[in-house]
Every structure is written in C-alpha cells, then in structure tokens.
Symmetry: C2
Subunit: 558 residues, 2 copies
C-alpha cells in the first residue's frame, strides 16, 4: 500500500478559519490577532482574563534516546491530542516552533507526520508569525549596543576580550562561527574576536520560553550577563540599557500562536529553545494558557527523556510551578531494533530478538521518569512494517517493568488510531496519582545537582570536572546563583556522553568540559562533550531544490 | 496653541477593521491575509484578477533638497491622499516601509505626521508584516550557501578575494562593517574578508521592489552577481542554486501591505530600498496594483527630486512601464529659509528675504521635473509658525517660474487642510497634459547616461571618472549590461556632491568614485562621494529610552 507524503496530506487538509478553532476553546475573534486565515496570536488581555480559571491536566510526551529510525515524538503528541478530542475530551496540543535555518540544510519539518500533523505546515517551517525574527532582532540590538558602548568611550569598562554576548542569525552559516569584527579603522570600532550562533541558541529564546509575562521578560533580559570587566565583575544587559527596547521588540513574540491539527483541534506552537544549551520546551506562557483553556494539555520536550524530560521536569515545571499528571514515553519497534544492534537498512526485517535486546533503553527511561513521581505509559508509535510479534515483545517487556504499553496508529489513521492511548492517558491523568517533585532541591550545591542527574538519570559512576570548573561553580554560588537548576548539554543519542553507547549503559563517567551561566534564563549550562551552537550546511543543502512549483506550491522543503 | 505629538494622535486613531478598508477598494475578505486587525497582505490571486482593469492616475510626491528643518514629503503624500478622498475621489496612497534598525538609533518614524499619518504607526516602525525579515533571511541564505559552496570544494572556482555578496542585518551595527570570517580552523571554512550592510541596502530589497511578479523575482535573483573567478568571469546566484529557495522565502513579502490613514483611507506600505545605492521607491507591485484599484494613486520617492524623483522617473517608471500624470513638489517656508542661510535655531523668526534667497533650489527642481514632460505643482507644506508674507514670497517665486504653489495644511487639519491641493492636483492629473519620457534612452552609453543626469539635473559642468571606471563601464556594455539605467548615489543635501552647497549651484564637477553592477535589480550604481551601507548608532541610541509603559504602550520610539 502506498502512503501519501506528509506534505501531500498537509496540502489536502480541510482547514477551518482560525476564529472557529479559537471559539472551540473560548477565545473570541477580538482576542485573536490573525496572521492570515489559519494562524493567530492570542492577545495578552485575553491571557490575563483567564488566569482565575482552573487548570486542566498536563501530559508530557517524551521518548527513548533518538535513533536514525525516528521515534515520532511530535507525531505522537499531535496524535494523542486528536485522540483525546475524539473520545470527547477538550484537549490542546503545545509544541515548539521550528527553526528556519536548518530547514535549508537537511529536509526537515517539525509539525508531526502522516495523519497526525499541525497545519499550515509550510508556514510553520518558514517565517510563521515572525517570533524567531523578533528574537533575532532583539538579540542583534543588544549586540550592536554593546559594541556601540565600547565605541563611544566604554564607560562601563568592558574588557573587549571578555564580551560573552555573541551575535545570532537564523541560518546555518559556519563561516560566522568565529570572526574578527570592527575591522577597517577608527570609524568601525575596536577590533575583537566575536562569533555567531543560530537564533534558537540565543539566551533571549530561552528567556522568552520561561518568562511568565512581559514584566518578567524584561527583568530576565536585564539580568543577562553580556561581558566582564578586567576585574571579572559582570556587565549586565541592564547596564547597556537594552532591556526596554528588547522587550518592545519581543512584545508580539510573547503571545502564543494558535494553529490547528489536521482534525481541526487547537494547538499552540510557541517558542523553540535549543535542547542542549537550553531547556528545549515550548513556552511557559503557551503551556500555562493552554491549561486554562483545555481540560487536557499535551506537550513535548526535546530529544530523549534523559535530556528533554529531565529538563522539562527539573527546569520548566520547577520554575513555572507546573506539575505533570502523566508522562507518555514514545518508543518504536524500529528504534528498539536499532538499540538492539540492527542497521538502518535491515529495519524492514522482523527481528524479535533485536527488539528484546534494545528494550533496556526503554526500561531505563521508565524507571527514571517514575523517580519524578509521575505515572508513565509507553506509546508504541506504530509503523506499518511492525510485526505483531515485535510489538508483543515490547509490550511484554514494559509489563514486566511495571508499566504498560499501548499501540497507537495515529500516523496511519489519525485519532481513530490513537483513541485507545488517549482513553488510558486520560484515565491516568484523572487518577490523581501523580506526585511530581523535581529530583533535586533548589538549595543543593550546583555540583551536587550535576552529580544527581549524572548518577540518577544517566547512571554514571562519577562526574569528572577539573578544579577550574568546580571553582567557577563555587564562585557563582557565592554570587547568589547557587539556587539555579542546571541545564545539561550532552549527546542525545546515549544515556552516557558517548553517542555510540546505546541501550542502558552503566559504569561510565560524565566529563564536564565547560559551565556557562545563563543568568537571565535562570540556569547553569553544563557542557559535557561537543555542543554545536551554529550548524553548517551539508554538501548539497536542501535549499538547492526548494522552489515554488508552477502551481505556486513550495517544493523540496519537506 | 499646544499640538499633540504624532504618537499621541496615532494612538487616538479611530481605526476601522482592515476588511472594511479593503472593501472600499474592492478587495474582499478572502483576498486579504490579515496581520492583526489593522494590517493585511493582498493575495497574489486577487492581484492577478484585476490586471485587466483600467489604470488610475499616478501622482508622484517629491521634494526640494532635504534640510534639517524637514519637508514633510510622506506627510504631504498622506495628506494629499486624504484630500483627494475628501473631495470625492477614489484615491490610494503608496509609501515605503520603515527600516527597523535605524529606529533604535535616532528617534524616527516614517508614517507621516500630525493629522496626516498612516496607522498602525508603532508596528510600521517595528516588525510590521515581516517583509524586511524575509529579505534578511533570503539574503542570509545566499550568503551561507556561497561560503558553504567554497567549503565543500568550490566547484565553481570562486576567487575568495572576489566575493561580492556581503551579509546583511536590519540593525545599525558598525562593528560588522568589516570582518574576517571563517576563522577557527578547518571545520569553519576558508578565512576571508567580509562585511555586513543594513538590510535595506540589499540588492534583494531592490529586486523585490522592481519585480513584476514571483517569476520575475526569481529570474532577477538568479541574475545577481555574487562573486568573480580568478579570470574575472562572474558567478551568479543561479550558479549557487539559491534563487528558488530565496523566492520561497520572499513569497509573502512580495504581497503589498494594506493599512489605513487616520481618516480611514487605504494605503499600501510596501518595500523600502535605500535611496542611494538603490532607487528608493515603494514596490512596483504595490503601485501597479493600486493603479487598478483606485482612480488616483499618490506615491513618493526618497530624498529630494534630484535623487528620488530622477530615479523614480528614469528607473522605476521606465522599467515598470509607469507614466506619472502629475508631480507634487513639496517645499516648506522653513526649508527655504535654511537654503537662504538661516540657522535652525532662528527658523521661528519671520525672514522674507531669506525665504526669497532660498527659493532658487525650488526653482531648479521645478525646471528639472518639467524636463521629464510632467506637470508640476508645488505644495507648500504649512507649518503653524509660517507667516503670510513668507508664504506669499514662495508663491510669487513659483508663479514667476511658470508653475503654481498651493498651501496645504494637512499636518494641522488633515484632509480639510489639503482639499485645495487635492482639487488642483486632480485637475492636472485629469488634464492629460503629461507627456512623460525618461531623460535618456536605453541605448545611450552608460557614461553618457551619467553625464546626462549630472549636466541636466545637477547642472554640473563635467563628470570626473578615471580610466579604470570608464573601462569598467565599457566592459559591462560588452557583456550586455549597456542598456541598464544608472542609479546615482550622492549626497541628498545638495544638487552637487558637496553636502554644504545649498541653493542652486552651477559650475561644479561630479566625481565618480566607484561603479557597481546590480545585475538582478537591473541598474548600474554610480557612487559619487561617501555612501554608507551600514549606519552606526549614536552615543545615546534611542533604544536606551524605548520601553513599554505601565499601560503596555511603546514609549521612546517616535
């Protein structure tokens, strides 16, 4: 049987006017700021007006460690949302926005797949409602104002060798990773080393996604450390007087974007911080607003549960006062097989032994998630090539490990395929069994927080960090930053820091290469291994074949 | 009497839903893609559907050489549009979009003033509908793809010393004017000198504003020269295969933006190329679409008539097949006084002699405009401090020089103040007296085109250009670019290349410092004197005092 491509399905979507979608969750036309006929921002006045409402149930969708086989986390998030609506629940989906740049590198798309998609897909992968452009602008304004301050006399005594604030662009442009700027003589400033990251790696992005409201946004922007003086004392964004104008530039970007699923159910698509040097979740304002509008809110976190769910729970939930009622852990038979040692080319062949061999990765994630006090259900995101015996092997494994696994066929069938999953997830969320608590307290030392995650989540024996790093952490504690959570940046492919170590490794070490303070976002980034904050384009970028066809449709983007 | 500030007036505007504004000119709701409730893009399908309609009359608003006193060209454009509607005509205004970056340097705003404004003012000076962000993205994609091509083997044999394509950002960031990129080792590419311009200086901006439709847009993007090989042969954007993806990124930006005046009349605000290294007019697609929807279309061109009107007539009208029916030349008593030698601080004192002494600047522009075969009327943009005797002095001068001057009080009174001007302009436009023709033919040599403008418009004795420049022009002629118009880049403050030479100078020389080929936009840029393609921020940027006030309103932007 031949299946349609994601873009073919998306183009055939019977979209309803966004005002109709808004009406489903009680947002009237005046409170929606439309962007075309199928996207809208929700006004701040409306958000303020629903604050006294009761919260709905919060459901997190996370996954096993990603493999090249694909897990379908967003697809399952969307499918579960549609499934809940199908069984008569009032449910919303909250996912992240896509970064523009990477779509021109590898064929991409971050709006689900098959019959479980959010639309308009093309626009979500291009400019959408301009949020990321606003973040680029706000970030760039601060960059320009820092060098401008130095140019006009450097009253703040910034050490030009210690400017921490890099520039950003929403494009994969490796040539900008490391540059020398302000060349060309007196009129252009004082030459110094500088560089660009991709926009989603900006601390402004992380802040936008963690801020409660515009006031909190401006405070956090002001708190960002942009440079140090020769005496190592920090210079803040507030000292540069950029926080007010940045807030003005981000005013609209702070409002959540409403779109719809293929089944015309409401979805917020808002924010998209990197899942390595930031926390990788959609915005707090979207999640908290959705909880006021829907009885069930399904959201997701970046990468596998060891990174994404850990940060969602220890950072986003802690800081926003959120408490998940259920966690759905997505696994696929194909990914289990890859964890069990099967090559991508051989995934089409039935291999129950390999499935069984790969299951410990799943088991470890179940255990970890339970340690946060949240009920866990495994969603087997069904691929049409999965055999019954393979599926049964996963189910059996999960049952043996004290959880339950439910097959979901949303990719193929939409909500008809996810109704069973939805039914069970709603039951669990309604059960009141969740007793969520982060796995470390605020007042633990920064290094102990790192150790807690490394030992309890990654199951490492030890954390390796040289004296310089431990001293830095202590200094931040003395400066009042000790109460912050830590944001781990490591490979998403393994529980360990070695991307090739699949399954459920033990006995490894976690080497900390670097620590960075994101004082505005409110976390300490712990870099374990290489992290890339400015991707490059491949030899043949997808952009080469992206174009408008004769019908004015976009080709090559997906 | 105390007058309200522009922003106070704009905030009190009784805006109508943009659908109502569209309905006035026959655009139905489905053809409007709303951005909020007060802005919308006009769909390409709708634009296609009106092509068989008769064109309305085209009215260009231009001005004397700008002085620090201000001329109010946009204000007069908006006031005249409202005046025409007041006297029962069906009229539209077409103006440019504002660049975001400069608003954070000096207090700015480019939406008219007083009672003659286009709204929503704040948004027009911030992200608006994201057109400039789309241009930045498209430009940045090509930048990244060029360095990426070199990185992966440089099959096109680009000479890295001769990459012509710079990068852009919509921010005043002098530190990026000249940089060294691709530092940091093998993974980051081949180090080379590079630099950033502000987005409005991008050739992509000029192309967007000159392209007839998306097909023409893609062809022009493909035609851009991005680099040269060691043998000096050009490498085109098309060779990099970026033109298709850039067109996709610019798809929405190509659609004109509909907004409204304070008096709820329709206005297109679309495109904004630099008036020095580009042609400085709003988009061809907005102007040609407006001509299908309204009986009178009032538009403007950047800087004074020697630069803006010359390019509007010789470049935009020639290339788009447009023919203006009337030209309105804006002058103010204050600017006449400054041309007559009065300092800004003394402008409040009556000084009829100085007015008379400054008038020759006005007279020269009248003569020049008439040489294009278009009827000219002078609009005296009335300031509340102007005395009757001063106004009469301007009127008398204009009458003596074979034209007519009409006082317009739109700033103070809105359309009530511009009705007389509107009446006369409509009569002239309807008279059929315009016999427009550019002042040089396509088949004249490039150097002779430069000489024609220098001698007939600037009244210079000669053009100075060394052999290297003349040889370059000849080479381009041999390569088939000889039929292009020339785009002059010189100071806007004088007919000459010396910004301090006010009035109506003669006997000067025009030194050509550099020539640049904009093969996609379709003109040869002739640089006479210093031109700035990346502005800097002042010692105390406006951004320092831009913020949201307690009511959520933007302070400090205007």
């Amino acid at each position: 049987m031949a299946y349609k491509s994601d873009i073919e399905i998306a183009r055939e979507a019977q979209k309803k006017p966004i005002q109709e979608i808004g009406a489903k969750i009680g947002i009237d036309g005046e409170a929606l700021l439309p962007y075309g006929h199928d996207k809208a921002k929700v006004s701040q006045d409306f958000i303020n007006s629903v604050q006294s409402k009761k919260n709905g149930k919060l459901i997190l969708v996370t996954a096993i460690n990603p493999t090249p086989a694909g897990e379908g986390k967003t697809t399952t998030t969307v499918g579960l949302g549609d499934g809940l609506n199908r069984i008569g629940k009032n449910a919303m989906v909250c996912i992240r926005e896509a970064s523009l740049g990477p779509n021109f590198g590898m064929k991409g798309g971050a709006a689900g797949g098959g019959m479980a998609q959010v639309v308009p897909m093309e626009e979500m992968n291009l400019h959408f409602t301009g949020d990321f452009h606003a973040i680029t602008s706000a970030h760039s304004l601060l960059s320009a104002m820092i060098d401008n301050h130095i140019y006009w006399g450097n009253e703040l005594e910034i050490d030009v060798r210690r400017v921490q604030w890099r520039r950003v662009v929403d494009m994969n442009d490796r040539a900008l990773r490391q540059i020398t700027c302000s060349l060309g003589g007196v009129a252009n400033g004082f030459p110094r080393e500088a560089g660009f990251d991709i926009t989603v790696a900006s601390e402004v992005m992380a802040i936008l996604c963690l801020a409660k409201d515009l006031e909190d946004l401006q405070k956090r922007l002001g708190d960002m450390i942009v440079a140090y003086r020769r005496d190592r004392s920090p210079v803040y964004c507030r000292d540069i007087k950029a926080d007010g104008a940045m807030t003005v530039l981000l005013k609209d970007a702070m409002q959540p974007n409403l779109v719809q699923t293929l089944e015309n159910n409401p979805a917020f698509v808002h924010g998209g911080p990197f899942a390595n040097i930031a926390h990788g979740c959609n915005s707090v304002i979207a999640t908290t607003t959705a909880l006021k509008l829907a009885d069930y809110v399904v959201t997701e976190a970046g990468f596998g549960a060891d990174l994404g769910a850990e940060k969602f729970l220890n950072i986003k939930c802690r800081k926003a006062g959120l408490s998940p009622d259920a966690v759905v852990l997505v696994a696929t038979v194909r990914a289990m097989k890859m964890n069990g040692g099967v090559a991508k080319a051989d995934l089409g062949d039935e291999n129950v032994d390999a499935v069984k061999k790969g299951c410990p990765n799943l088991g470890r994630h179940i255990e970890n998630l339970k340690s946060f006090g949240v009920p866990v259900v495994v969603a087997i995101n069904h691929f049409v090539t999965d055999t019954d015996a393979e599926v049964q092997a996963v189910k059996d494994y999960v049952t043996e490990h004290g959880s339950e696994a439910i097959v979901s066929r949303h990719w193929e069938l939409g909500s008809e395929g996810s109704a069973d999953l939805a039914m069970r997830v709603a039951e669990i969320a309604d059960s009141g069994k969740s007793q969520f608590s982060p796995i470390y307290p605020d007042d633990m030392s920064l290094f102990e927080k790192i150790e807690t995650i490394a030992k309890r989540i990654y199951r490492a024996d030890e954390v390796l960090a040289d004296k310089k790093i431990r001293d830095q952490l202590k200094l931040w504690e003395e400066q009042g930053y000790g109460n912050l959570p830590v944001c781990m940046a490591k490979t998403q492919y393994s529980f360990s820091t070695d991307p090739n170590l699949r399954g459920a490794p033990t006995g490894h070490s976690v080497p900390v290469r670097e620590v960075r303070l994101s004082a505005g976002a409110g976390f300490v980034v712990v870099v374990c291994g290489e992290i890339m904050t400015m991707p490059g384009l491949p030899r043949h970028p997808a952009a080469e074949s992206i174009m408008l066809n004769a019908d004015g449709q976009i080709e090559g983007l997906f």
